[in-house]
């Protein structure tokens, strides 16, 4: 048993090969299945998140393609109405809950400690736990779909159609419990990001030096902490109504169906920002690397990120304009929705100015980032239109809204994410993605997307309602739908090219080296892929662009990457003060652990038991959950969590 000092001076070292070898032994995860199930390395967790999210993206994409075949021509009968209902509900649920946020969590999990100069996230085991819960919740909801009981009421699942009377199968029970289940993952993930930011930044990494991606994920996490309980509660109340005869939403008994809509959208609209703000952060950090200059307007962009979210809490009713609420309330929410254009425009003009004032190097990543600006503007303008009351009354529940939300979600999430893959794939794997295939990838996706979704604005304006499984001939929508279907397949082909590029480059890509783009931030200071301990020594940060200090000449101070705190008494990283990032303590980090996996299995069993009303299993799983948590949190001597005789 090694003694853990209650205080010590962190050793300062210029790192040697022996130190590296020692750090590697300390931080390395075991190989094989044991390592797979017990790893808490943020890089492993990040990659798993990204891969899993892409699996869901492909599933959701296939669901969309089946629908586009059905809609390509009028009066098709490839799908029954019930099948169509489940497909569009699964598609929405998959893309919004199982792809859009998790993929960003994956990037952030991988990148945060590297960007902040830390050796891991604040709670490494919690990080592994949030991943396992995400996977198991996703499987839970897909299990329902596989046995023909997927959600069939759209991703926002309005009552009373979701009530038992109209929806007697298990569809809604799978969805309701699955969403509460998934909410656990989102909440603990968000908490981890917040505490990581507050406590584990490298010395000198003050708030005004944070990369914008950090601002984006931080803002999204803060929002998730506040709003995820709303949707979990809504689904819980629905489940109570369905299984225990309560009367929250049941109109015939005086229930309030609009309460569902309030609770859902109090969550739902901030969530929309949660799935785009980190992606906007990727663009803000990626563009400067290719424009060969710092981002124009760092401070306004950081503040507009936060402002978007603050305003975003007060706009949920714009999803409910057609519900007959008082006009005064509607006007307020309409105004708030339109005001959001201001911070969004700040970001757009900052990106444009960065390109305008830079010397852009046109790479595939740059194309994805830059095209996002165009798609964001289109999606933003159609959002501005639907934010206006009278226009929304005309457009609501038509294909115009479908066009709008896809411009926003694909434009501001998928395009930046693919750009981010091209940008950071070399860091993840040590190899470059192929640029030539990349151009094909970009142009097929960009053209396919616009051919698919631009005509939908018109389809909607000409009155085609969303969520219909087919439509009669002669409404004037035939050729528009055909174009959309062709575009969607082209877009899917572009995604296929991306997958091919990933598979081929993983083995045969050009070797990247630590900093292939000559980019300015800390993650490019370490080898590609980074060693398990990330940094040889904890960096001492002197500016916002640690790797560009010599050429920017903003001040005399230089970031120190080769000499700093070594911290090699077991797994350790530096804890700093929340605002200024001054050294405050040495954080002991946990070893790899099976506890997160076991706890996730116990919780999965609990939700399965609730679904099937197997109360004895629920009780057993509950006890296992409590036991696993107690073991997990049992104070450990080696982590400096217990009192030691002679040390206090």
């Amino acid at each position: 048993m090694t003694l853990v000092d209650i205080e010590r001076r962190p050793e300062i070292a210029r790192v040697s090969e022996t130190d590296r070898a020692k750090l590697k032994t300390i931080w390395e995860t075991r190989p094989g299945l044991a390592g797979f199930l017990s790893s808490v390395d943020h890089k492993d967790v990040g990659i798993r998140y990204i891969v899993t999210a892409f699996v869901f993206l492909i599933l959701g994409g296939v669901e969309a393609l089946i629908m586009r075949v059905q809609l390509a021509k009028p009066e098709q009968s490839l799908l029954t109405p019930e099948q169509y209902n489940q497909l569009f509900s699964m598609h929405g649920m998959t893309m919004i809950f199982l792809y859009a946020l998790p993929v960003l969590s994956g990037f952030s999990n991988y990148l945060w400690p590297l960007l902040l100069g830390a050796r891991d996230m604040a709670f490494p085991r919690l990080n592994a736990f949030s991943y396992w819960i995400y996977v198991f919740a996703g499987i839970f909801m897909y299990a329902g779909f596989a046995i023909g009981a997927g959600p069939n009421d759209g991703w926002f699942n309005y009552v009373p159609y979701a009530s038992r009377q109209y929806n007697p199968g298990m569809n809604m029970d799978f969805y309701a419990l699955g969403m509460i289940f998934l909410g656990i993952s989102t909440s603990v993930g968000a908490a981890n990001f917040i505490v990581t930011l507050v406590r584990t930044r490298a010395p000198g990494m003050s708030l005004n030096r944070l990369p914008i991606l950090i601002w984006g994920t931080l803002t999204a996490s803060a929002a998730n902490i506040l709003v995820v309980p709303a949707v979990s509660l809504a689904f819980f109340l629905l489940w109570m109504d369905r299984q225990f005869g309560t009367h929250f939403f049941d109109v015939s008994q005086g229930g309030q169906p609009l309460l569902w809509q309030h609770l859902f959208w109090i969550f739902g609209h901030p969530w929309v920002y949660a799935v785009v703000l980190p992606a906007m952060g990727m663009v803000s950090d990626g563009l400067p690397a290719f424009c060969r200059r710092p981002l124009v307007g760092y401070t306004p962009v950081a503040l507009s990120t936060v402002a978007t979210m603050v305003l975003g809490f007060g706009v949920w009713v714009h999803h409910m304009f057609a519900t007959g609420m008082p006009n005064l309330a509607l006007s307020f929410f309409s105004g708030a929705s339109i005001v959001i254009a201001v911070p969004s425009a700040v970001a757009v003009f900052a990106w444009l100015a960065t390109i305008w004032n830079g010397r852009p190097v046109i790479t595939t990543a740059f194309l994805f980032f830059a095209s996002m600006i165009a798609l964001f503007v289109i999606g933003g303008v159609s959002g501005f239109m639907t934010g206006s009351l009278p226009v929304d009354w005309q457009l609501t529940d038509t294909y115009f809204v479908v066009a709008h939300l896809h411009y926003v979600l694909i434009g501001i999430n998928v395009f930046p994410v693919v750009g981010a893959l091209y940008f950071w794939f070399p860091k993840f794997t040590g190899r470059m993605l192929d640029e030539r295939l990349g151009r094909w990838n970009f142009w097929t996706m960009f053209l396919g997307f616009n051919i698919g979704f631009l005509p939908m604005h018109l389809t909607g304006l000409w009155g085609m309602p969303r969520r219909v499984y087919t439509y009669p001939e002669g409404m004037g929508w035939d050729w528009l739908n055909m174009i959309s279907s062709v575009g969607s397949f082209l877009f899917a082909f572009g995604v296929l090219l991306l997958l091919i590029n990933l598979a081929v480059s993983l083995r045969r890509g050009k070797v990247a080296g630590p900093n292939p783009w000559d980019a300015p931030t800390l993650e490019w200071a370490v080898p590609s892929p980074p060693p398990p301990y990330n940094f040889d020594v904890i960096p001492h940060v002197a500016s916002r662009h640690p790797l560009w200090e010599d050429r920017l000449q903003e001040s005399e101070a230089r970031t120190s990457l080769t000499e700093g705190y070594l911290l090699d008494h077991g797994r350790e990283t530096i804890g700093t003060t929340p605002l200024d990032g001054d050294i405050d303590l040495i954080l002991k980090m946990p070893e790899d652990s099976y506890a997160p996996f076991m706890l996730s299995v116990a919780i999965s069993a609990f939700f399965l038991a609730l679904l099937l009303h197997w109360w004895w299993l629920a009780a057993a799983a509950g006890v296992a959950t409590i036991g696993a948590i107690a073991i997990w949190l049992w104070p450990e001597h080696d982590l400096g969590q217990t009192a030691d005789a002679g040390h206090d």
Binding site: V4, D5, I6, E7, R8, R9, P10, I12, A122, F123, S187, A190, A191, I194, V195, R199, T200, P203, I225, L226, V227, V228, P229, A230, S232, L233, L237, M240, F244, G245, T246, H247, F248, G254, G255, Q256, L259, L263, H540, S560, E563, G564, Y565, G575, I583, D584, L585, I586, L587, K588, L633, W634, P635, L639, G640, Q641, T642, A643, D644, D648
Partner: protein
Amino acid sequence: MTDQAVADIGLEQPRVPVGSIRRRGTGWWGVLTLILTEASLFVYLLFSYYYFAFQSSGGFLPDKPPSLELSVPNTVILLLSSVAVWWGDAGVRRGRQRQLVIGLAIALLLGIAFVTIQLFEWREQTFTLRSSQYGSLFYTITGFHMAHVIVGLLVLAVLLVWSALGYFSGRRSAPILIGGAYWHFVDVVWLAVFFTFYITPYLRG
């Protein structure tokens, strides 16, 4: 050697705590995020209650609203258990392990008393979970609170075991701070629930 030795590159080399030290560890911040998200949950629960109350056109409240007879003493019991946790924590901060153990034991007993009395309180009501919106809200919201109290009691029980095993000292006692914060939160939330169900019926004009 001074307390602020400085290395060649100008990096400070102060003596700093190692591991989990009260509010300076990551655990304290972790429990704050937990409390924030749990508090949000109760905001949405009470929002649902007031939404029903304002949207109904009369007849929302039951003929006999829940009485103050048991609930007022029970509220006092819960608040006293918070005081006991605080007292025990104050003890361990001065290195008095026995005070910590006694404080946690008292808090645990008071918490169990609260749960027991609350079960009687549930049986007293004239309405049920299924009888009306009010009944659904009453049992769901107080049920959510009850679940939190039970989790809190488990936390207190585990902390009591750890304290009895002598795991904690003045500085190495972050778990007490963290578990204690959760327990105080559960107690404060009760005040909001109590106000909503037991006091607001008397505030009607």
